[in-house]
């Protein structure tokens, strides 16, 4: 049985349907992420799980029991708020002790658990500090400690890294993964950052306009996006408008207007003549000099319009025969000085026949 089951949940605010027929089930121990642009409904879903909002239709079950009508203070799950919402008039230890006091634990146990949790987030020396004396990263850790200390069935995290600067955010991501593994509590994480979602999660639900577009493991989302939105939202991707010319068991023949035939794969039965998009990640495209040999099926000529040397990789923007500009990412991993194609060079871009994904409209 799933730990948390969201069953056909819909939530309306006046005429606006913020959440539409969402079904998700989350297993014990998972690091699950709700990913989507701001205003997509992910925070509404989180608030319904926490109990600050109730679904108009459908239900949410925890351990198989419906949470309908259970107020937030009675739900065995805690939230880490985006603003941290630390109690300014309590010390760090006081903040962390709060959920234990609410649960009626003995003073002795509270003292022990607070000390343990402070050690878990490496803040032993800050027990008597007040929140306004802490840095952003430290406040973040106190908020996490406060959410974890009473061992909730679920920890909900609402964009908890949003207020941190870029470097600290990466550090906290690593800490968060280690922390989740250590405490073995199910995390439901809300974010609009696809990078954060990919780095942290066991599974991700991509949400747009209140609907789940795709729910899958990070590498599946990245390599097998279900539609244009997911393909575009997660990572960088080149999108070519194509028409299906042939479809056998796994091989798919596509034609891009003004460019030519593209060989691809797709296990689904697809009708010849269907129109869709061919999506291709920049790092799967190779760029070769004009007359260099490349033993790949998909080869197209183009002209380098821009290049960005990024150190570890170089990003090329190549204009193809039909005027489309595609991006290719070439690693600078060869020993010695990396060899570049200059702006204006005529090059060949190629990719394996199983490199891209055909997306139906």
């Amino acid at each position: 049985m799933a730990l948390l089951e969201i069953r056909k949940v819909t939530r309306r605010f006046g005429a606006l349907e913020a959440v539409k027929d969402v079904s998700i089930s989350i297993e014990q121990g998972e690091f699950f992420t709700l990913l989507g642009p701001s205003g997509c409904g992910k925070t509404t879903i989180l608030r319904m799980i926490a109990g600050f909002d109730e679904p108009d239709e459908g239900e949410i079950l925890l351990d198989g029991k419906s949470l309908a009508g259970v107020p937030p203070e009675k739900r065995p799950l805690h939230t880490v708020f985006q603003s941290y919402a630390l109690f300014p008039h309590m010390t760090v230890a006081g903040n962390i002790a709060f959920p234990l006091e609410m649960a009626g634990k003995s003073a002795l146990e509270i003292r022990r658990r607070v000390a343990e949790t402070l050690a878990l987030v490496h803040l032993e020396d800050k027990a008597d500090s007040f929140p306004h004396e802490l840095s952003g990263g430290q406040k973040q850790r106190v908020a996490l400690a406060r959410g974890l200390v009473n061992k909730p069935r679920l920890l909900l995290l609402d964009e908890p890294l949003g207020a941190l600067d870029a470097k600290l955010r990466v550090e906290m991501q690593i800490e968060l993964i280690a922390l989740q593994r250590e405490v073995d509590i199910t995390f439901i994480f809300v974010t609009h950052s696809q990078q954060e979602a990919l780095a942290l999660s066991h599974r991700i639900a991509v949400i747009k306009d209140g609907r789940v577009e795709q729910c899958d493991e990070p590498d599946q989302l990245y390599t097998q996006p279900a539609n244009r939105f997911v393909a575009d939202f997660i990572g960088k991707i080149n999108m070519l408008e194509v028409e299906v010319t042939s479809s056998s068991k796994v091989l798919l023949g596509l034609r891009a207007e003004g460019l030519g035939d593209i060989a691809a794969t797709d296990p689904r039965p697809i009708a010849v003549g269907e129109r869709g998009a061919f999506a291709l990640r920049p790092e799967l495209i190779r760029v070769f000099g004009h007359r260099e040999s490349a033993d790949l099926k998909n080869r197209f000529e183009g002209v380098v319009r821009e290049l960005l040397y990024l150190g570890d990789v170089t990003l090329y923007k190549v204009e193809l025969a039909n005027g489309r500009v595609i991006e290719a990412l070439m690693p600078n991993a060869a020993p010695g000085r990396a060899k570049f194609h200059e702006v204006g060079d005529v090059v060949t871009v190629c990719w394996r026949h199983d490199a891209g994904v055909y997306l139906r409209n």
């Binding site: 926490a50 109990g51 600050f52 107020p71 937030p72 203070e73 009675k74 805690h78 939230t79 708020f81 603003s83 919402a85 630390l86 109690f87 300014p88 008039h89 309590m90 010390t91 709060f98 959920p99 609410m102 649960a103 007040f130 929140p131 306004h132 406060r146 009473n150």
Partner: protein, 280 residues
């Protein structure tokens, strides 16, 4: 390190602050000093102050007189009791009101605040006379009850406004966090809202307690003969008995008591309110 550029230069600071400083020095400090000195002088032949010709003319007579009669101590005690009771009732009445205003939609808040201060638009004495009309027919006029009612009525807005200003700034996420972590409504109030509103309660209490101590109009109009407070006593010395030294001595004692109390409160709040400054 150089100062940030937005700091005004020394000269600008002086030019801007000189007029109010001069005003305060002249009209507050000087008058206070006159009262202090008057407390150590004798009454003249026709009341007021006797002419002062030498330092030897200074005397502790007024203070001896105050110490010699227990009635003054009683009046002081009663005044502090009335002030404390008024403050307490104001807190209890103003808190829900301020909370309600702070929780109202933003557009309605200004209107509600306006309603709170609307009574100031008419004359204070007229409003107290109105209470005579109200309390007279129910036989409550000229009682301690009437005095406290009048005091609460006159000072309630001074409690509502600082409390509202404080409560309005509370981050609603804190209450959600408390609820999320297992606190019910009652606990949320006592563990989060109330402690964070203490600075508002303190400033409101100062604005109510101190003026009530010196107030003479309300007890005079609504109170009986046994309900006189320090304010009445002081006013009596200056206007009716023309015993200025005694009036001054009473004023000074009142000021000292208030300052001592304010100091005590400041010390207590510094110890007890750590962290709440982040909110207010």
């Amino acid at each position: 390190m150089s100062e940030p550029r937005t700091q005004p230069s020394g000269l600008t600071k002086w030019v801007v602050t000189l007029p109010p400083t001069a005003f305060l020095l002249t009209f507050f400090l000087a008058t206070a000093l006159i009262v202090v000195v008057a407390g150590f002088r004798e009454t003249g032949e026709f009341g007021g102050l006797a002419p002062i010709d030498s330092l030897a003319a200074l005397t502790l007579d007024a203070y001896h007189f105050l110490g010699g009669d227990v009635i003054y101590l009683e009046i002081f005690a009663r005044s502090f009791l009335v002030a404390a009771l008024t403050t307490l009732i104001c807190i209890v009445l103003a808190y829900p009101l301020a909370w309600l205003i702070a929780r109202s939609p933003k557009r309605r808040r200004d209107f509600l605040v306006l309603l709170v201060i609307l009574p100031f638009a008419s004359n204070f004495l007229v409003r107290i006379y109105a209470w005579i009309m109200l309390l007279g027919p129910v036989n409550l006029l000229y009682t301690p009850f009437a005095v406290v009612v009048g005091m609460v009525y006159a000072h309630l807005p001074f409690m509502v406004l600082p409390l509202y200003t404080n409560l309005e700034k509370h981050d609603p996420a804190l209450l959600e966090a408390a609820q999320d972590l297992g606190a019910n409504g009652w606990t949320r109030f006592w563990r989060v809202t109330f402690p964070l509103s203490l600075p508002g309660i303190f400033s409101g209490s100062a604005l109510v307690f101190i003026p009530v101590l010196g107030m003479f109009a309300v007890p005079e109009l609504l109170g009986g003969t046994g309900d006189i407070l320090i304010g009445n006593l002081i006013k009596e010395q200056f206007l009716e008995n023309r015993d200025w030294p005694l009036g001054s001595a009473l004023s000074i004692m009142l000021t000292v008591c208030v300052l001592a109390l304010a100091g005590l409160t400041a010390w207590a709040s510094k110890r007890g309110l750590h962290g709440t400054e982040a909110v207010t």
